[in-house]
């Protein structure tokens, strides 16, 4: 089955594609910068160990080079994890470091003065693999904006698909400096169920210990705060879409078209009322016709129009009378409104003439 056919099957009736998007190549810069740092640090260490004036410091000590490289990597990993609150960064760097040691031990390179060359090349190779993984991950995202909904699809092995309708969503947009330069940005559709919302948590705790050698008193106090912020995974948001402003405006327009405004709501309520009245009238007429058809009418007695009206009134029950009254009142109101509009128009014309 071709991709287009499959896509056609996935769409609803009368559904039209407005835009089909994927994230900008630079939109995953946070992930790409992890690989970039690995390359930069590998090259810098390679230069330090092989060409700089400090190369004598490292000569003949394979473990020292490896540890220096790994410790800096882990230190940066810890700092990045703390800032971004993602411990995967630390574990990623840790796995890179551990695999480097494992590879060196397995190949028995530790005593062969290989580390000065191995580290830059290994860093470069791992970074290239990292860049490729990020690129594959980026390409797995596909966002389709149709006239009825937003479809967010992602994943190569495990596919996720999310469909968001335009009614009852709030659109949140964010654009970093890189996004502002290259004109891409992230749009998060926040639904009433809370999709698109994350939370920032801050926790504080303090403890103290009192007492001498024997008697000790321990006290711990703590507290936390939580703030809800628009945040989502790239699978559940329009991540790094280009051109940002144009797409945001398009979504805003589609949301506006699908959300009923106060005027629309009034109009719908009024139309409902009218339909109800018409139904009631139809029922009344049915009853009338039934009652009249039950009574036998002789040819000699031709009923007067006045008699007919009386008979109809008799046939109408008190409840139906109320409905008719309501209808009359409504008609009266309508005519009053029309008259008021006419008077207003006349007044406006008069004031216009006076001004001229």
């Amino acid at each position: 089955m071709t991709k287009k056919k499959k896509e056609k099957e996935e769409f609803l009736e009368n559904e039209l594609i407005e835009k089909s998007l994927s994230p900008h190549p630079l939109s995953f810069m946070k992930l790409q910068s992890l690989c970039l740092f690995l390359i930069i640090w590998g090259v810098v260490l390679g230069w330090l160990v092989n060409f700089s004036e400090y190369k004598t410091l490292f000569s003949g000590n394979e473990w020292f080079i490896l540890l220096a490289w790994g410790l800096v990597l882990l230190f940066v990993g810890v700092i990045a994890s703390l800032i971004l609150i993602r411990w995967t960064i630390f574990f990623l760097y840790l796995s890179v470091f551990v695999s480097a040691i494992a590879l060196m031990i397995w190949q028995n390179w530790l005593n062969k003065d290989v580390a000065p060359l191995f580290i830059p090349f290994y860093s470069f190779a791992v970074s290239i693999i990292g860049f490729l993984i990020v690129e594959i991950y980026r390409r797995s995202h596909q966002y389709i904006i149709t006239n009825l909904r937003i479809i967010l699809m992602s994943g190569y092995l495990t596919k996720t698909e999310l469909s968001i309708r335009y009614d009852k969503i709030t659109v949140f947009g964010k654009q970093g400096i890189l996004g502002q330069i290259f004109n891409f940005g992230t749009i998060i559709p926040i639904t009433q169920s809370g999709l698109g919302l994350g939370s920032d948590q801050t926790l504080a705790a303090g403890g103290m210990m009192l007492g001498g050698k024997k008697a000790k008193l321990l006290g711990i106090a703590g507290g936390g705060k939580e703030v809800q912020t628009p945040r989502s995974r790239s699978s559940f948001e329009l991540h790094g879409v280009h051109p940002y402003r144009e797409i945001k405006n398009l979504i805003e327009k589609l949301v506006q078209e699908n959300v009923p405004t106060a005027y629309h709501q009034e109009q719908v309520a009024f139309q409902k009322q009218q339909v109800d009245l018409q139904k009631q009238m139809r029922d009344l007429l049915k009853i009338q016709t039934k009652e009249t058809s039950k009574k036998p009418i002789s040819n000699a007695e031709i009923p007067d129009e006045t008699d007919e009206e009386e008979k109809v009134e008799e046939a109408i029950e008190p409840e139906q009378n109320d409905v008719q009254k309501q209808m009359k009142e409504l008609l009266k109101k309508q005519s009053e409104l029309k008259e008021a509009e006419k008077i207003d128009e006349e007044n406006e014309e008069e004031t216009g003439e006076e001004k001229s």
Partner: protein, 366 residues
Amino acid sequence: MEGYSIDIVIFAPLAPILGVLLFWFIQLLFIQSEKFLLEKIRHKHEPLCRFTNFLGILFQTICHALGYTVTKSGISDFFISVDYGRVSPKKERTGIFEWIANAFLFIGPFFIPAFLLLISLIFLKVEGLELVIPLNITGTEYTFGGQITIFGSSLYNFSEKFFGFLSNIDLLHPGHFGFLLLLIFLGMGIRPSYIGEKKHEKIDMLYDLKNIWSLISFKPLYIIILFVIAYLFFHLSILINQFLYVELFSIFGWLSIISITALIIADAIVLLIKTTDEIPGKSRFLPYITIPSSYVLTRVFFFYFPSDFTKIVSLSIMILSTILVTFLLLKYKTKKFNTKTGMKPLRGKDDEEKKGKRRISRKRID
């Protein structure tokens, strides 16, 4: 001490000020040329223009914030985007403090980013950051001529060492490479006005000068105060027999030289982008591939055949090969160097015309 007293008292302090002003005007001229080039490539390289705008705004905003910090006004709000920067003080201060903060905003971007590069030059062990007093001016150091000679000599000494470093820059050295990147960024962002999506009137040098002039003319008293301070500082330097006054202005001169160099490099890059835009197809990327590949190949060559001029030769080959590749691409891929009509057909036409004229003339004679 020799020299006329009027020279020492009135004219001598003006010498370094005029020197710095001259260099600053040269800086403005290069900024103008960069703006012109950026405006030319804007329609094709919108992100690059936005990036340079961002750099410019970043420098300005940092300088403005520094102004508020120096005047102890404090910073309550700091915001930077690609086309807008805003810094608000905690305390609104008037008078000289306000003027100093504004001076930081208008004049700071020309000198403060370059100051960071000057500091990094110290870390890269570049010499030339000292005052040079030529022997032939002994006794007349505090005259106009003496002051301008010391200023010029210091600048010459710095330029010699700085350009020596640049021509021997090792692009495989992380520190040197980082310095070059910073230099390019400085060159791209050292401009006080914005190049926007719509054509703005305020992208020329006159607009910048008008801004600075309005700042000066708005508070002329402060300019007088600044001159008085400068004169006092100069005479204090004479009193303690130190060259502090000319040394201070020499630093401004060094900063101007760094800025001008940065602008020249940035101009060259923008010019390369503008030129390669004219080349059709993917071959336009060839000059950009030539830059690193030619340098790395030359360095590899010199690794096996060592020479005393490895860095300078590698750099020269890199620049020359890039120019050559660009030139060849322009010659064979575009009609840039072609005349509107070929020379041969023109020659042929000329010969035919001449023959025709002869025939006509012969007929007439007949």
